[in-house]
């Protein structure tokens, strides 16, 4: 009861819960699920953009893309480390990704069809991620909040790079401009869907808000993203593919068409265009690299044994 009171007091005071603090089981479980899903998203998210590394149209863009995909792997590492402070093991989380029991962001189940998709992901997908993640920097769980500060800083760098890449395309040849517009047309609604189901259907939100893991509802975040993105689209000179998108002076926000949540559910359930491919790639990396992990372990064991013998 003391522990519960302490937890409630910390949350109420907007202070951080730290790994050694007592915390309700449900809080711990919710965080593990969310952080793991976030980490998995970084890892799977390497694939759609990584798809263009060997084909990037200039060496400067290739370097930017290589570094970005590498950053995503780094984000995965911070986040798995944050999850581990909650008493789980990265290997177990990883196994749950591979078995399909834990999810990753559905956005990464869409294919990168052209080079412009790399820019559109940077602009829209990283943009949506940032809107989602900035409030997480104030999340009540300390290690997660600190990981998010680092992630957000890099993400906003990526988002600017994506924007800049699309900007160049939008001002390039007619074919480049068409490529940029086409990418925005395909990524807009999936990006809106990244904020999850509408608040009316969102199951976990209320409790997460009470625990100050979440600070805003799905629909609030989605609206924030729309408002921000409309203005950036104007700078780019590209059109968002929503004929009903318009300023609502009364609300002080843009009205917009909701994404297809049935499609979102289908993709979450595993039936998006690339779910099978993404998981198969991941499993293949693990399986075909198993002998490397075993070799490293065997070598480490030999070294340990040799050291022990030397000391005996």
């Amino acid at each position: 009861a003391d522990a519960d009171a302490y937890f409630e007091a910390v949350i109420a005071a907007d202070q951080k819960i730290e790994p050694r603090d007592a915390m309700p089981d449900a809080y711990r479980k919710t965080l593990i699920r969310q952080i793991a899903q976030h980490a998995h998203s970084e890892i799977i998210g390497m694939q759609p953009e990584g798809n263009w590394i060997t084909r990037a149209p200039s060496l400067a863009r290739k370097a930017i893309l290589l570094a970005k995909v590498q950053d995503e792997a780094g984000h995965g590492l911070y986040l798995y480390a944050a999850a581990e402070t909650l008493g789980v093991d990265r290997a177990d989380l990883y196994a749950q990704l591979l078995s399909g029991r834990q999810k990753y962001s559905s956005i990464f189940n869409y294919p990168t069809v052209t080079w412009a998709d790399v820019g559109a992901i940077g602009w829209l997908v990283d943009g949506a991620a940032i809107v989602n993640q900035v409030p997480l920097c104030r999340c009540s769980y300390g290690p997660y909040a600190r990981a998010m500060i680092r992630v957000c800083k890099e993400e906003s760098f990526h988002q600017r790079q994506g924007f800049q890449s699309l900007y160049v395309l939008a001002r390039g040849t007619e074919r480049q401009r068409a490529m940029a517009q086409d990418a925005v047309d395909r990524w807009w609604y999936p990006s809106l869907a990244m904020f999850g189901p509408p608040d009316s259907d969102s199951t976990h939100s209320a409790q997460s808000m009470a625990w100050k893991i979440k600070r805003y509802s799905n629909d609030e975040l989605r609206q924030k993203f729309v408002d921000m993105t409309v203005q950036q689209a104007e700078v780019l000179g590209l059109t968002l593919p929503d004929p009903d998108l318009r300023w609502n002076a009364e609300r002080g926000h843009y009205d917009y068409t909701q994404p297809d949540y049935d499609e979102l559910m289908r993709v979450i359930k595993g039936d998006g265009p690339c779910n099978r491919q993404r998981m198969a790639n991941r499993r293949d990396a693990v399986e075909s690299g198993a002998w490397v992990a075993e070799a490293a372990a065997a070598y480490a064991a030999k070294r340990t044994a040799a050291r022990q013998e030397a000391m005996a």
Binding site: S165, A285, G289, Y299
Partner: protein, 239 residues
């Protein structure tokens, strides 16, 4: 072509193509740490390639920048050694190739750095790259030892990689013969620690060559098709 330009392109293309093969590991490594490490090395080599291509383009004086040289040359104009263009292979091939190549780059860049009086621009690039190369070599060394002295399977794979790649190392020293002694000393030390057998030179008459004069293996064309297709599909576009 100016001899010096050809020489610079050789160095540049070695780095560019080695970087390409390493970047094929993206999302494919056995763990996240290694995925990051391989991307890092790919990124370093790409950076070296860009500096070297830019310098080669300046020396040539025909207005070709790094992208014109990377994307608009045909296969016969690429000067890299065949070692770096061979297919990615398994992790053992990647590690052993990195060992052979980084040890070569380390010796070469050391010498180029020392020759700063003759080629100050190139010496500056070499100096800047040496720290990177030392890291690559260290990484390759640690993994070669782990694989060679790990499990029976990893030993078998590592030895196979050594045996398959060794013949291609001779091309590295066709024009830099004086570096081979130091290279051998480095490499032999690592192979010994890794309990791997160094192939005899004379037992193997297979000494593929041609890369420096633009005659490549049949793998190179597919690599270039992938690398260049988008750029070539949009003539004159800016990215």
């Amino acid at each position: 072509m100016n001899e010096d330009v050809g020489y610079l392109l050789g160095l540049a293309d070695d780095a560019l193509i080695a970087s390409h093969r390493l970047s094929e590991w993206s999302s494919q490594a056995h763990d996240l740490e290694e995925d990051i490490a391989l991307s890092n090395i790919a990124l370093d080599l790409l950076g070296q390639a860009r500096m070297l291509l830019t310098l080669a383009g300046e020396r040539e004086g025909a207005g070709r920048d790094e992208d014109a040289l990377a994307y608009l040359r045909d296969e016969r104009e690429f000067r890299n050694v065949q070692l770096v263009e061979l297919p990615r292979g398994d992790f053992a091939v990647t590690v052993v190739r990195m060992l052979f190549f980084s040890a070569y780059q380390a010796e070469l860049y050391l010498r180029l750095e020392a020759e700063s009086g003759e080629r100050p621009d190139l010496a500056a690039i070499a100096a800047k790259s040496l720290k990177e190369v030392a890291y690559h070599l260290d990484h390759a060394t640690r993994w070669t030892v782990r694989l060679g002295d790990g499990t029976a399977e990893s030993h078998r794979r590592a030895q196979r990689a050594v045996d398959e790649l060794w013949p291609y190392t001779h091309e590295l020293f066709e024009t830099e013969g004086d570096l081979r002694g130091a290279w051998l000393a480095r490499v032999e030390r690592v192979l010994a620690e890794a309990t791997l057998t160094r192939p005899a030179d004379d037992a193997d008459r297979f000494r593929p060559t041609g890369g420096r004069s633009g005659v490549h293996t049949e793998h190179m064309g597919y690599l270039l098709a992938e690398m260049q297709h988008l750029h070539r599909s949009h003539p004159g576009a800016v990215w």
